[in-house]
């Protein structure tokens, strides 16, 4: 019984982490139909932002939940204004430019912080469930993921930006029809996507530690989740996180985490064979 | 199933785009080597019909039989190999290849090297494209690109040719040449022509089918169709010479 609780808790945590590290990527993909190949490096920047702020004496919760998303979000807006906006309508080139950005950021972080792992300690102890102990921080990740998705849902549902965002997802010309400058929508979207990546990077930093190349460790899963989910941001990320998080967790439990990732990739490739638009392209045509 | 002199038949063919019913239960029959004109106001569903026949769109329901074969769920290249060639409404060519290369790609789909070269040369001569062989198709005028697409279709030697507005954007002279070409190609292939240009239709028409709101409104000779009250109503107030 206790084992079951612990296992389902671990599965929930896997789903929540997957959703958290993917959602920033999903927002940019859903709105602009482009995969941000620098997503992993945005996570990495979020991690460094949290670490630098904590070392400067900022409270760790403020650092991970506020400083990381704000710093990376602003950085995202700057990148959109200086690089991405010149490439609208050229999805291939946009992806290539973000790949260049990814390399650039790895090089920059290596130059500034060196090639060593930095860490902050998780600001929570552990919980006892029967004979088992689980990290309390896992619970915090689950709570944060739920809060983030609730907030995104509310923004989509109740705000003007949400309306514009939803219509842009359906049809890129729609924003223009609503009298909004599409380039402003994209700038905000890129900033929000980057900010959410920063948040995820900050939140994950106490668990994983941070090195300049950590992005590569994150992104494979995030890519698979977003592509498997398809263009609907919330429905896609949640459904794909549940599916792939469960597969990952089960296979990891039966063998190793690396085989878990192989299984994820295989599952995604097979899934795309039958649903080339991802899960939501098939089942939730009109979902946000 | 199908009578042997029937090359194309659709049964209850239907296509919906979300709520829009573009084609509603069309039963269409075409005889071997028949020349049919398909007319109807904008949005009547003519192009959608053509796209289903060539597997560019999947029918929502219904059945398509070509030469006795059910092609409802075929792939576009299979339909082409069975013998249907189409000229789409907007010029659909290889813009960064030369005229000769465009036609060669088409001819080599059916023939070996030598025969394809001969066929390509013959087609280019017939369509007066010889002077343009080395030019990039993307650099040609709209009308010339239509000719290149026509040439590609003819080089395929299909049993059934679908032409979606072949005379659009052509001068009167070019239009006459197109009509001539259609009559000539019709000696060896069945043809369905979609056009808005009534002068052009009159030049070639035998039987005319009128589409309206995704249905067959009437199917008869050109004279009867022109005199028909319903057809007038459908077209009323619309300028159809554009």
């Amino acid at each position: 019984m206790d084992l079951l609780v612990v296992l389902s808790f671990e599965a929930l945590k896997a789903v929540a982490s997957l959703a958290l590290i993917s959602v920033g990527l999903a927002i940019i993909f859903g709105m602009m139909r482009v995969i941000n190949l620098a997503h992993g490096e945005f996570l990495m920047l979020g991690g460094y932002a949290a670490i630098v702020a904590t070392k400067a004496g900022v409270n760790i919760w403020v650092a991970t939940l506020l400083v990381s998303p704000l710093v990376v979000g602003l950085f995202g807006v700057v990148i959109e204004r200086t690089i991405i906006r010149f490439l609208y309508g050229r999805p291939r080139d946009t992806m290539l430019a973000t790949w260049g950005l990814s390399l650039f950021l790895v090089g920059l972080a290596t130059t500034v912080f060196g090639n060593t792992t930095e860490g902050i300690s998780a600001p929570a102890g552990s919980l006892q469930i029967g004979d088992y102990r689980i990290a309390a921080y896992s619970l915090i990740i689950i709570v944060i993921a739920i809060a983030v998705f609730a907030a995104i849902w509310a923004v989509f549902r109740f705000t003007r930006y949400g309306l514009i965002a939803r219509s842009t997802m359906q049809n890129a010309d729609m924003a223009a029809a609503l009298g909004v400058n599409p380039s402003r929508v994209y700038a905000v979207t890129f900033g929000v996507g980057a900010g959410l990546a920063g948040l995820a990077g900050g939140v994950m930093a106490p668990i994983t530690g941070i090195v300049p190349t950590i992005g590569a460790a994150y992104v494979a899963k995030a890519f698979i989740t977003v592509i498997g989910g398809g263009p609907a941001i919330l429905a896609g990320t949640v459904s794909a996180s549940v599916l792939f998080g469960a597969i990952d967790q089960i296979i990891t439990y039966l063998s190793t985490p690396v085989i878990g990732e192989v299984a994820l990739l295989a599952a995604a490739v097979v899934l795309l064979r039958f649903m080339p638009q991802g899960i939501t392209g098939r089942f939730f045509r009109r979902a946000a | 199933m199908t009578s042997p002199d029937c090359i194309l038949e659709t049964r209850g063919l239907e296509k919906r785009f979300g709520g829009v019913v573009a084609i509603a239960s069309v039963d269409f029959r075409l005889k071997q080597r028949e020349l049919r004109c398909l007319i109807g106001p904008n949005g009547a569903g003519k192009s959608t019909f053509f796209k289903m026949l060539t597997a560019q769109l999947k029918p929502t329901t219904g059945q398509i039989l070509f030469d006795g074969v059910d092609i409802t769920r075929a792939q576009p290249h299979q339909v082409s190999r069975l013998g249907i060639g189409i000229k789409n409404q907007v010029p659909d060519v290889f813009n960064n290849l030369t005229v000769a290369e465009n036609i060669s790609v088409a001819a080599r789909s059916r023939h070996g090297k030598a025969r394809a070269a001969a066929k390509g040369k013959d087609v280019m001569e017939r369509l007066g494209l010889t002077a343009l062989t080395g030019r990039l198709v993307g650099e040609l005028a709209h009308g010339q690109r239509q000719w290149v697409e026509l040439a590609m279709v003819v080089a395929l030697e299909p049993k059934l040719i679908l032409l979606d507005e072949p005379a659009a954007g052509m001068t009167a002279d070019e239009t006459n040449k197109t009509a001539e070409l259609i009559r000539e190609v019709n000696k060896s292939a069945a043809i369905v022509v979609v056009e808005h240009d009534m002068q052009f239709i009159k030049q070639i028409a035998q039987t005319v089918t009128v589409f309206h709101q995704g249905r067959v409104l009437i199917e008869d000779t050109m004279d009867k169709v022109q005199g028909n009250e319903l057809v007038r109503e459908v077209y009323l107030g619309k300028s159809e010479d554009d």
Partner: protein
Amino acid sequence: MTANWQGNGGLVAATVLGLVLLLALPQIVDPVMMIELTSYVIMAILALSLGLIWGYGGILCFGQSAFFGIGAYAYAIAVINFGDSTIPLLLSIVVPGLFAALLGYFLFYARITDVYFGVITLTVTLILYKVMGATSGSQYVIGAAPLGGYNGIPAVPPLNLPGRPDVALSFDGLFYLSGLTLLAVYVGLRLMLKSRFGQVVVAIRENERRAELLGYDARFYKLATFAIGGAIAGLAGCLFANWGMFISPDVFGLAQSAQVIIWVIVGGTGTLLGPIVGCFAIQWIATKLGAQQLLNANLVLGTILIGFVLLVPKGVVPTVSDALRRLKFRPYVAPLVEQRRVP
């Protein structure tokens, strides 16, 4: 006919030039630089493979290093087991080719978009990196070959005369073999692109739907192009394993995948010369950067990639050849060019 003859004339000239370089370079370049140069030549084969897939097939493959790495590992594992290198060499071509075909079957037949294709291929190589990295320990052995995790496989035996494991390829020999391979792949691809198959591949890149309406199964042609490109990349991987006598998961790394893309972007897509030129130029820069410790190589490569995408999206070779053509023919062609700009 004339165009055809000229095309072959160019090809003959390129072959002769290639052979001359191949014989002359070892005489004029110092031995240390020859080691570098050999690796450039091997990487140029990899660059050509992506030049085919991306530039002619129009297939956005972000994970070309996956096939390169699979080829290298296939050779290393097989040659350690077999001793004689003939079958390992073949395996280094066949295994990645088949892997590409399998992946291509799932992806092309699902008709997924460009963006998906690029990201999935990138993910494949990222995961291969982790998988091979996780193989340290004595349980991960294939026959006599320990996989070695992130430390890789050391002491990979060199190629030998078929059936004669005692007559191994010298390092000079590797340069000549790699150079000849590069030349053969270049000439082979040029000829292939002129054939019906090549014509159809380019037509599909230009307008996939029209090609299908002409009776060509685009999925099959893309699959075949992808598999050929994968096989060529695998051959380059085999030569690379010979060059370093060593192979590690770094061949699958993000940096390696990015480099191939950068070579092709810088040199120019839609040409075969472009990827070769881009590969030599960027590798030379990377060597120079490695020699000094001031600027991080990733920083520079990232800047180059962003810069080219924004400022020279066609790449060097097409841009230069366009410019030359315009300069050379301007007085004669200008009036015609104006006329051609009909909307």
